[in-house]
């Protein structure tokens, strides 16, 4: 229980080719000063450990303190129902899944249960897949809670633990059995879905009680008791995507609209390709990919000037633009899973002041992924 630190006594840091700190198998042999040894390449950023090091556990010493909660707004009926469900799960010490559609106010629903957990004297962790999402969580939590929120992501304080901690997964590697309640936000998103070692570390960080929050749960996550919320908090339906055969004219026609337009493309090479198409037709646009540093600037620009943004799937979650129209170019591409398509469609119509928006899937060929995405959205609207 506590933080894993390198110590003269303790258990070996690397056993059976598995790094005991980050649980990865990216362990490479090298020659230490005393002979054959191996070290872990995956957690070099926490300081190198090799087989001759030993890991000990150090207790967390930050004081336990109670908190007060000020809700930013009243919860709607559906949200209150879900948050009561969360409280019962916590009382029963159960892991659960919140299946709530994009833009239904998932953040605020979790506030009551966070308050209860903290007031019992337990620690809460919120894991999110991306730093942008983590920053948003931290800001909202700071507005609502009186305890300081610890930010454990790149750019924040990386080695502190408070009562409420917001973190990205890679910075949790050296913790073990610390948090009594772990909220995994966007739990089907990129790192958790593909990197099994990352999931094991998150499991090890908690003490066994998790809450998965997502709009598109994986099959594995559906095994847990589920709370559904299929209304957005402004009560309007989710915009249902329309399928349009992809031609250059159709894309240009979509870009002629006056609203902010967000075009998703599958790969970075497509950013250039479709960018040239837009440029040839006299549109000014901005491109967003994982390499782009000024993503928040681009977001503000998009909202302020009703511009066009070409984005890769980096923007498929956790961003809100007022009154945006969404198009998914080349939506039959294999990188666009049905889950990604649902998330991208969920970018439209998130604000109560602009509850509708158009979603267009441009296709070269029809796929089951598109159909499943549309069916899921329609199902959520029916529920």
């Amino acid at each position: 229980m506590g933080q894993l630190v390198v110590r003269p006594t303790g258990r070996p840091a690397i056993r059976f080719g598995i790094c005991q700190r980050c649980l990865s198998t990216d362990v490479r042999a090298f020659t230490c000063h005393h002979g054959a040894c191996s070290y872990c390449r995956n957690c070099l950023h926490l300081g190198r450990i090799c087989r001759c090091d030993r890991l000990g556990e150090e207790d967390i010493t930050t004081p336990v303190e109670p908190t007060e909660l000020v809700m930013p707004f009243e919860l709607s009926d559906g949200q209150r129902h879900v948050s009561e469900q969360l409280l019962t799960w916590w009382d029963q010490k159960k892991t659960g899944l919140v299946h709530a559609v994009c833009g239904s106010g998932k953040t605020e629903m979790a506030f009551p249960v966070i308050e209860r957990v903290v007031n019992v004297g337990k620690r809460v962790l919120i894991v999110s897949p991306r730093r942008d999402v983590a920053i948003e969580w931290a800001e909202r939590l700071e507005c609502a809670f009186s305890v300081p929120v610890t930010r454990r992501y790149g750019g924040g304080e990386k080695d502190t633990i408070g009562m409420i901690t917001v973190a990205t997964a890679p910075l949790l590697l050296n913790l073990k059995h610390v948090f009594d309640y772990v909220l995994v936000d966007e739990s089907d998103a990129f790192p958790f879905a593909f990197d099994m070692a990352l999931w094991w570390t998150i499991r090890r960080v908690g003490k066994g009680i998790f809450l998965f929050v997502t709009a598109t749960p994986t099959v594995w996550q559906r095994q847990f008791p589920t709370a559904h919320l299929s209304r957005r908090y402004h009560g309007h339906d989710l915009p249902v995507p329309t399928l349009v055969k992809q031609t250059d004219e159709a894309i240009v026609a979509f870009c002629r609209r006056k609203t902010p337009r967000l075009l998703f493309v599958p790969t970075k090479a497509d950013l250039v390709r479709y960018g040239e198409l837009l440029h040839a037709n006299g549109f000014t646009y901005r491109a967003v990919s994982a390499d782009t540093d000024e993503r928040t600037d681009t977001l503000e620009w998009l909202e302020a000037t009703n511009g066009i943004v070409l984005a890769t799937s980096i923007w498929e979650r956790g961003m809100t633009v007022r009154g945006v129209d969404v198009a998914v170019l080349d939506s039959s591409h294999a990188l666009f899973s049905s889950r990604a398509l649902v998330q991208m469609a969920g970018r439209a119509g998130r604000k109560p002041t602009a509850p509708t928006g158009d979603v267009v899937f441009f296709y070269h060929e029809r796929t089951f992924r598109q159909d499943r995405a549309i069916r899921e959205i329609e199902e959520a609207n029916r529920r």
């Binding site: 090298f30 020659t31 230490c32 000063h33 070290y39 390449r41 070099l44 190198r48 090799c50």
Partner: protein, 222 residues
């Protein structure tokens, strides 16, 4: 396959080497380091071809003649690479240098890495020059180093006037010796080591160095 340096996946065309080689470097990362092709014949510092640079003239005036083969310029990318390798401890990165280091191999030569002091070796856990030397060819531990403070914060003049920390540990049977080091900044270390070896009776001493610091650049000295 993931790139050794940036760890992003990239495609390798199939060849028999695909089965044997584990560490691949993607073309983007391979082009980062600047190779030193022409320049000073004694230390590889870029400049007019075949002209001995000022630093080397100073060493020659002191009566120390040592030819150093430098491979890469110690610029921004070089600094990053070496910091990851040496201070970050990502030892596997040397495998990127394996082909070019292996091509320097000669017959009848023993490669002697610049040693670390005992204490430094214990904290760093590996000798960065030793790993480089093993990539080239047969190595022997000829030198030992007594404890001195780190050179990282010292200026150029302070670096030059330091007592020689090297001593002979065990004589080598081989006559020709090639010293191996990671960075050539002023050359003090290499020249001191070569001086010790020459005093001990080795006639042919040359050196191989991975990076050569560029003069008049604003890089922080290592």
């Amino acid at each position: 396959m993931n790139c050794l340096v940036c760890r992003k996946p990239f495609a390798i065309p199939w060849s028999p080497a695909t089965l044997l080689k584990r560490d691949w470097v993607c073309p983007d990362c391979a082009g980062l380091l600047t190779p030193l092709i022409s320049g000073c014949p004694r230390c590889g510092h870029p400049g007019a071809d075949g002209v001995t640079c000022d630093d080397c003239v100073r060493w020659l005036a002191l009566g120390l003649d040592l030819t150093v083969r430098s491979l890469y310029a110690y610029d921004e990318a070089g600094t990053n690479w070496l910091h990851r390798y040496k201070f970050g401890g990502d030892v596997v990165l040397v495998n990127q240098m394996r082909p070019i280091l292996r091509s320097l191999r000669e017959r009848g030569v023993v490669y002697v890495p610049i040693p670390l002091s005992e204490e430094r070796l214990r904290t760093r856990r590996f000798n960065q020059a030793d790993l480089l030397a093993r990539m080239i060819g047969p190595t022997e531990r000829v030198l030992v180093k007594s404890e001195v403070s780190s050179q990282r914060e010292l200026g150029k003049e302070e670096r030059r006037h330091r007592p020689n920390p090297f001593a002979i540990h065990k004589a080598s049977r081989c006559e020709k010796i090639v010293l191996v080091d990671d960075v050539y900044t002023t050359g003090t270390t290499l020249h001191q080591a070569a001086f010790t070896l020459k005093k001990a009776g080795y006639e042919e001493v040359s050196a191989v160095c991975l990076f050569r610091t560029l003069n008049k650049s604003k890089m922080r000295p290592i």
